[in-house]
């Protein structure tokens, strides 16, 4: 394959879903592109490419991050979790179970982004009110569900977590 661009690639390493990965990225390559194109993490979606829809959300060092507006080269040494990192084989993460149980999924294109945003938020705010959940996920758009059952699922998961403690 011929790459006509002459700019130097950059070598980086980060932790992806618990494992260290080494990769070479182009200087202007987004984190989204690195995750999808170099690392095959296609659960990270591209809905707008300008940071407005949230479908590309991943968790970086505990924080929900829109990977389409982040340059991959800046993530050397960071810890990244994508939707692919949640289930343990066939064993789903409880928030994934909650999304299924509460029918929070339709076309599913927004689903990974919502799950990542919700997880990052709940990590720091374990007992949210419904209004707070709405606010916490307001950077993620969904065209199918009207958000109602997504909020139900996140609330259900948060309650389950609290009961488990």
């Amino acid at each position: 394959m011929v790459n006509f661009r002459m700019s130097e690639n950059i070598k980086i390493a980060f932790t992806l879903n618990g494992e260290v990965v080494n990769l070479e990225v182009e200087p202007d390559q987004t984190l989204l592109s690195a995750l999808r194109d170099n690392l095959g993490m296609t659960g990270v979606k591209e809905g707008c490419s300008i940071g407005e829809c949230g479908t590309c959300t991943v968790i970086v060092d505990g924080k929900a991050t829109k990977s389409c507006i982040a340059l991959a080269a800046a993530f050397d040494g960071r810890e990244i979790v994508t939707i692919e990192g949640l289930a343990n084989g066939d064993q789903l993460h409880p928030i994934q179970e909650a999304f299924i149980e509460k029918n929070a999924i339709q076309c599913g294109f927004c689903t990974p982004g919502f799950i990542m945003s919700a997880l990052a938020y709940l990590e720091k705010h374990p007992r949210p009110r419904r209004e707070e959940i709405r606010k916490a996920i307001s950077g993620n758009l969904c065209r199918c569900t009207g958000y109602e059952q997504i909020v139900d699922a996140i609330e259900y998961y948060a309650n389950e977590m609290e009961e488990a403690q």
Partner: protein
């Protein structure tokens, strides 16, 4: 009371919640959307759009583009064997008719090379005069969007013609006590499915072309492949990928993308992936038709509607494929009311703007917004309470529909209205809100509407299903209609489970592969459960009869009628403990040569309505809905808050209450956007707000409190008595909001969307 409650109808697998069968792949990120696919030696494809809304290509030079390292092919209209595509759009064109038209396509090794290749194409244009609005397009001497086109009379599209003719409105109007006339207008609306269009075309060694695409209409997809390459349909194959939303939209741009990817794959001999950017998707994909409405009603002092005349004018945009919409539009133009004399006409007008197409409701959201406000205005002119007026004219069992159809099935509108009025304290609030003062004023509004189920005489509503059992007892189902998020595979799994008598876990419904099932038409018109599932049910019934023969043999009984299949067990009726697990029968069935697969076909009975006569039975049955919206308006700022929407729908039989409610919630958000937020800033035919920073849809902070209420009835027309829901869910929301705004402010809104600024102007005019 026809209010849904689990167990009301005696079913085992439908009529109750079942988790979505596609949920696991979707929550884990494993679902295969088209943009995720990778093939060996795959190239990247892209399109070059012109800078004008109406122009002719004078010169196009591709040499420089071909010289870009990594560029493998550059194609222009000169490489095509005909100017138009299947469906009258253009893959690449010499004449640009709107800003989404394409002059060249490129395939390259990398995305960077693709970009550089597109940039290196040298084009010289001659700009042509253009028309951007219905009025401009219909003016004398207007520039023509399509020159020398036999489908057009000037800019008027000859095919967008349908009508209703019942009684004689001209005579009736002369006898009426009161005549009311109003005009309304609606905007173009973007679908904004979160997944933009994507396709991968893969040339096969045997000369076939396979395209993987998020096509909501796989058999149309197959046509676009065959049409673009000039190959027989038997050599074209469309494989559906997971669809990230469609709402009627993944059709035209999707089809063109399928055609363009096929052309590039054919030219290069490589798989070619085309992923449409959000900007390209907004600029090029079809939109909900903008409409202008003229309503004229004649009523008598007793409050009875005598005559209705409606003219609907749709802005078709630059190209067309939607003559069918004219049918649905005219049939629903009068709404859910009994009117002896009806005359409806529709006109489609070409403009040099984005093309119009199907979007959730296919004319009904626009029409219901106009008509449900109109009838309130008629009641006002009569000095009557609008709800009393509407109720006294409402459709009922045995009534004659405005198109002439006798309604032989239940019409449960009175029950739905009563329920929603009680739930929302509709009458109480309406009176309370009528005379408010102060800066913040509340309002409550209602819409009452109906929807013809399935396609009716709009188009062919036939579909296929193939079901087989394997010798291990697992069940596989191939269908011709697509899961696009609405929950179809879950509904089909539940329907197969109900019919066969095996648990949902044993059943796998496959996505559409056009090589494995007959052309079942498009996934549109909320037809897939009410009508599309009939073939699924029939195939399962037939398969079950074969399996029962084997089970009878295993029970050593003569008659398969002695055998039943329940909960995954074959039993011998009346003989305790005589039971054989499903999989054991399937195994013996296979090894004794039993037929283990069935293809079935369902075509609904013929109906009599035609666009030529404008009279007759238009749909097999109708579903009925009521929507109530509660709003608050800030007089100081014009700010509108939708506080609550309560939405009640007659769905005949609920297949899955949670997925049904999901449709209703999503429909409310979309309907609210239609009424208030979603406006494409189109200036001189060009869309200015091309991405989500400037084009807004509701976020989780914008949606109101919602309540979804499901009703059932005993109408047997649809599969297990089910009716349509997906589109109804959004159709009446805007009109309920607009009527609520009238209750709050006393103002009528004859053009939507209504935003804060427009509201402020209206309040302080």
């Amino acid at each position: 009371m026809p209010l849904f409650a689990e167990g009301n109808k005696k079913y085992s697998h439908i009529n109750k919640f079942c988790p979505r069968v596609d949920a696991k792949e979707k929550v884990t990120g494993r679902a295969d959307y088209a943009a995720d696919l990778v093939f060996p030696d795959m190239l990247f494809g892209g399109s070059l759009h012109g800078p004008y809304t109406h122009a002719k290509v004078k010169r196009i030079c591709v040499e420089k583009a071909l010289a870009v390292p990594g560029v493998r092919a550059v194609l222009t209209y000169k490489d095509l064997n005909k100017p138009f595509s299947w469906g009258y759009y253009t893959y690449m064109t010499e004449i640009l008719r709107y800003e989404g038209d394409v002059v060249a396509i490129v395939a390259a090794d990398t995305k960077h090379a693709l970009e550089a290749g597109l940039e290196a194409i040298d084009v010289e244009y001659e700009e042509l005069p253009a028309v951007y609005t219905i009025d401009e397009a219909m003016a004398d001497g207007a520039p023509l969007v399509h020159e020398n086109n036999e489908d057009c009379a000037g800019n008027i599209w000859s095919h967008a013609r349908c009508k209703v003719r019942k009684g004689d409105v001209d005579v009736a109007f002369t006898d009426c006590d009161v005549i009311v006339e109003r005009e309304y207008e609606t905007q173009a609306v973007e679908h904004l499915y979160l997944e933009p269009e994507a396709a991968v075309a893969v040339p096969e060694k045997n000369g076939c072309m396979t395209v993987y695409a998020c096509a909501a209409n796989p058999f149309f997809g197959r046509r676009w492949i065959a049409d673009s390459l000039g190959i027989p349909r038997s050599k074209a194959r469309l494989v559906q990928t997971t669809i990230g939303g469609s709402f009627g939209g993944k059709e035209e741009l999707m089809g063109l993308t399928i055609g363009r990817a096929s052309l590039l794959a054919d030219a290069t001999g490589h798989p070619v992936k085309m992923v449409i950017s959000r900007e390209e998707s907004i600029v090029c994909s079809s939109k909900r038709h903008p409409f202008k409405f003229k309503y004229k009603a004649g009523v008598n002092k007793d409050g009875k509607l005598q005559a209705l005349q409606v003219t609907l004018i749709e802005d078709v945009g630059a190209y067309h494929m939607h003559e069918f919409m004219s049918f649905r539009a005219v049939v629903h133009a009068a709404g859910a009311y009994v009117i002896p004399n009806v005359k409806v006409d529709i006109l489609g007008v070409f403009t040099n703007t984005v093309t119009s197409g199907a979007m959730r409701g296919y004319s009904s959201p626009q029409i219901i917004y106009a008509q449900e406000q109109f009838y309130e205005e008629v009641a006002e002119e009569l000095g009557m309470d609008f709800l009393a007026f509407k109720k006294s004219n409402m459709l009922h069992k045995g009534a004659i529909h405005p198109c002439g159809q006798e309604l032989n099935e239940e019409v449960i509108l009175p029950e739905i209205i009563e329920n929603l009025c009680a739930k929302t304290d509709f009458e109480g609030k309406r009176k309370k809100y009528a005379n408010q003062t102060g800066d913040k004023r509340k309002g409550i509004g209602m819409s009452i509407f109906h929807r013809g189920c399935g396609l009716g005489n709009e188009s062919i509503d036939a579909s296929a299903a193939y079901i087989c059992v394997h010798d291990d007892g697992s069940v596989m189902v191939n269908v011709g209609l697509v899961e696009n998020g609405q929950g179809l595979h879950t509904a089909y799994s539940q329907i197969v489970a109900e019919t066969l008598g095996v648990p949902v876990e044993k059943i796998l419904v496959n996505k559409v592969d056009t090589n494995t099932i007959l052309d079942s038409g498009p996934t549109v018109a909320s037809r897939c459960t009410v009508m599309g599932a009939q073939s699924v049910r029939k195939a399962a019934q037939e398969l079950k009869s074969y399996l029962k023969e084997t089970a009878a043999m295993m029970f050593h009984t003569e008659s398969p009628d002695q055998v039943a299949l329940e909960d995954g067990m074959f039993i011998l009726i009346g003989v305790p403990d005589a039971a054989i697990p499903f999989h054991e029968v399937c195994n013996v069935h296979h090894w004794t040569g039993g037929q283990s697969g069935v293809m079935n076909w369902y075509k609904p009975p013929k109906l009599s309505f035609s666009c030529k006569t404008g009279f007759g039975d238009a749909f097999p049955t109708y579903s009925y809905s009521v929507c109530v919206a509660e709003v608050e308006v800030d007089y100081k700022t014009g700010e509108i808050t939708v506080e609550k929407v309560t939405s009640g729908h007659d769905v005949g039989t609920v297949i899955n209450p949670e997925t049904s409610k999901g449709q209703i919630f999503g429909g409310i958000a979309m309907g609210q956007g239609f009424a208030m937020m979603e406006n494409l800033a189109i200036k001189d035919g060009k869309i200015r707000n091309k991405n989500l920073d400037t084009f807004m849809i509701a976020s989780s902070m914008d949606t109101p409190e919602m309540e979804a209420i499901l009703f059932e009835c005993e109408d047997k027309t649809g599969t297990y008595g089910a009716k349509s829901l997906g589109e109804n869910a959004t159709e009446g929301v805007a009109s309920a909001i607009i009527n609520a705004l009238h209750n709050a402010t006393g103002e009528r809104i004859n053009k939507i969307p209504i935003n804060k600024v427009k509201m402020f102007e209206l309040l302080h005019k």
